[in-house]
């Protein structure tokens, strides 16, 4: 039996349908791969029986010809998605023993398409981080290493670091991620895989542990652009249980894939040429421009004048929403309780001090401050106004272009521990990802090449509202031309 774990979702799907191999064989190989890669710390819970049950159901259904789009495909699920009866902790001690009695809409949709679950994937605590180092389970270790012969442990990116590490290490064919300010795209770029954040509202947020509700979106992380299209189609869709869910049909993104970009104008924002970005990243961006031109696109220079204000805007809005969302962890309804002293208030304070990690406490504090009496207008309202201007920048740019191309991140993967002492330096790693989040736009990272240290770099495509198809198609055009085949050398 060849290595089924090297195949894409499309190949697995077609192979299962054709009877080249059984879904059970796929699940068994993946379960074994998951169990043999625990050094990466990518999974927080393994659910081999879940993967096998979905595989057996697919093998049984094959005779009838009624197979869902992901029938028998075992997936990794970020630990932010509520999964019935399976620990859902958001990487936090405060939810350590939480076993939901319900399933998130996105994972329910994936199950309806026939997918199984390999396990829950590690992540930054409450998705607050860009390196997976804030997890209560400890960091995920990237399967990638620098080509200098050293063994420095690298960050897989974050917050969806378990997802990115699992897909790039071949211990999940694809995984769910969530993106609040780059948490799908930056880890995808760090590990040489694809990841798309759809338009805000495409995927239901119901059953996803909330971080910043006006920004949080789920999306797929996978080996190829096609796999992202297949998986996003299964994840997306209107959900009455999410008040911001978009009541629109889900396009047939896979069927619509085309790398012919004739007639498309691709904007290159001059404000994204910032100081301190390694030359390799600028060079890759230039290659990306050539690839898209080669695919038929016209390249135009555009301006997004408020780009430099996106990160400070984000670091007011996201902590503000987080401080409100995380008020629910009170030691009463679910999760940890620490009695403390001083009655009910003492219990609240002791529980939250013990249950939240340092970065989450820091963000709750900032969020509480910017929402507090006397400071609300100066910080929160001001940030919401600048957010309007950032959104307007994109609206105006999309009068001149159909898509925007930028690098995904200002660096390749950094070492574990390199940025933990300085929260600001960690925040700055999302400089290219955050503006599209603030504007709710679909955006994708596609691997473009390796830097001089042998680490993956990503190219980032931003589309108009609801134009996931345009983003995927441009991603496909890059994928075909970049011919990115590098894989991490197995050391784990």
């Amino acid at each position: 039996m060849s290595e089924l774990t090297s195949l894409t979702i499309a190949q697995l799907r077609n192979g299962i349908r054709a009877g080249d191999f059984s879904a059970r064989e796929v699940a068994e190989q993946y379960n074994a791969a998951v169990a043999s890669a625990r050094m990466l710390n990518a999974y927080t819970v393994e659910t081999p029986d879940d993967a096998l049950a979905a595989a057996d159901a697919a093998d049984k259904a094959r005779g009838s010809g009624e197979l869902g789009s992901l029938a028998g495909i075992p997936l990794g699920i970020k630990d932010l998605f509520a999964t019935r009866g399976v620990n859902t902790t958001a990487g936090s001690s405060i939810l350590k023993d939480f076993k939901p009695r319900y399933e998130s809409t996105v994972t329910e949709n994936l199950r309806r398409a026939g997918a199984g679950m390999l396990g829950k994937l590690n992540m930054d605590e409450f998705a607050m981080g860009s390196s997976n180092e804030t997890s209560t389970y400890g960091p995920v270790i990237s399967p990638w290493r620098r080509s200098d012969g050293g063994n420095a442990a690298l960050a897989p990116g974050g917050s969806s670091g378990g997802s990115s590490a699992a897909v790039s290490a071949g211990i999940a064919p694809a995984a769910t991620g969530t993106d609040t300010g780059g948490s799908i795209r930056q880890p995808a770029a760090f590990t040489g895989i694809c990841g798309i954040k759809p338009t805000y509202g495409r995927c239901s947020r119901w059953g996803i542990v909330s971080f910043a509700s006006s920004l949080d979106q789920a999306g797929p992380m996978a080996k190829t652009v096609r796999d992202c299209a297949i998986m996003l189609e299964a994840m997306a869709g209107f959900d009455p249980k999410d008040s911001t869910s978009l009541d629109l049909p889900v396009p047939k993104w896979e069927a619509g894939l085309s790398s012919d970009l004739k007639g498309k104008r691709v904007g290159i924002p001059k404000e994204y040429r910032i100081d301190g970005v390694p030359a390799d990243i600028g060079a890759l961006w230039d290659r990306g421009i050539e690839w898209l031109r080669d695919a038929g696109a016209e390249i135009v220079e555009i301006s997004l004048p408020h780009t430099k204000y996106a990160l400070p805007t984000y670091y007011i809005i996201a902590p503000a929403e987080a401080s409100s969302n995380l008020a629910r962890y009170d030691g009463v309804r679910y999760g940890l309780r620490v009695e403390g002293s001083g009655g009910l208030d003492g219990m609240y304070a002791a529980t939250r001090a013990a249950g939240f990690g340092a970065e989450v406490r820091r963000r709750i504090m900032i969020g509480t401050y910017v929402l507090s009496a006397g400071f609300y207008d100066a910080y929160f309202t001001k940030a919401q106004k600048v957010r309007t201007l950032i959104k307007q920048d994109f609206t105006e740019a999309f009068e001149k272009c159909d898509l925007i191309l930028t690098p995904t991140a200002p660096s390749a993967a950094f070492g574990l521990g390199d940025k933990t002492a300085d929260p600001l330096s960690m925040y700055l790693n999302d400089v290219f990802a955050v503006p599209a989040s603030l504007a709710g736009l679909p955006a994708m990272s596609v691997p473009g090449g390796l830097d001089e240290q042998g680490l993956p770099l990503g190219l980032h495509l931003i589309g108009r509202e609801l134009d996931e198809q345009g983003v995927l198609n441009a991603g496909l055009a890059i994928e075909e031309r970049a011919a990115f085949t590098a894989k991490p050398q197995r050391w784990w």
């Binding site: 009695r101 978009l246 204000y309 999760g335 939250r352 940030a383 959104k391 600001l424």
Partner: protein, 95 residues
């Protein structure tokens, strides 16, 4: 603007997070560093700009005023740290 130890202690109280004096000492410069950085938003002229409230234009839906859910008491209490007699239990608040 920058925050003082006293203000940080007050924010911690509002956020219901117990904090030692050492942690407050440590947080003050961290928070001030971040606040100093976000203050660059002051450079942006936002006169006459409406704050963004919906990132993608969307109608707030209303649904029929009908019971669509319920009878889930045991599910709801299943993850409670302490539940008694079908209720969440909290430390005594009334003597």
């Amino acid at each position: 603007m920058s925050v003082t130890n006293e203000q940080v202690r007050h924010i911690a109280k509002l956020a219901r997070i117990a904090m030692s004096d050492e942690e407050i000492e440590r947080l003050v410069p961290e928070i001030n560093n971040i606040l100093g950085w976000v203050e660059q938003l002051g450079e942006v002229n936002t006169d006459g700009v409406e704050p963004l409230t919906a990132v993608i234009p969307n109608k707030l839906r209303l649904r029929d005023d009908a019971v669509t859910d319920g009878n889930k008491r045991d599910d709801i209490l299943a993850n409670a740290p302490v539940a008694e007699h079908g209720f969440f239990a909290v430390p005594k608040v009334i003597e």
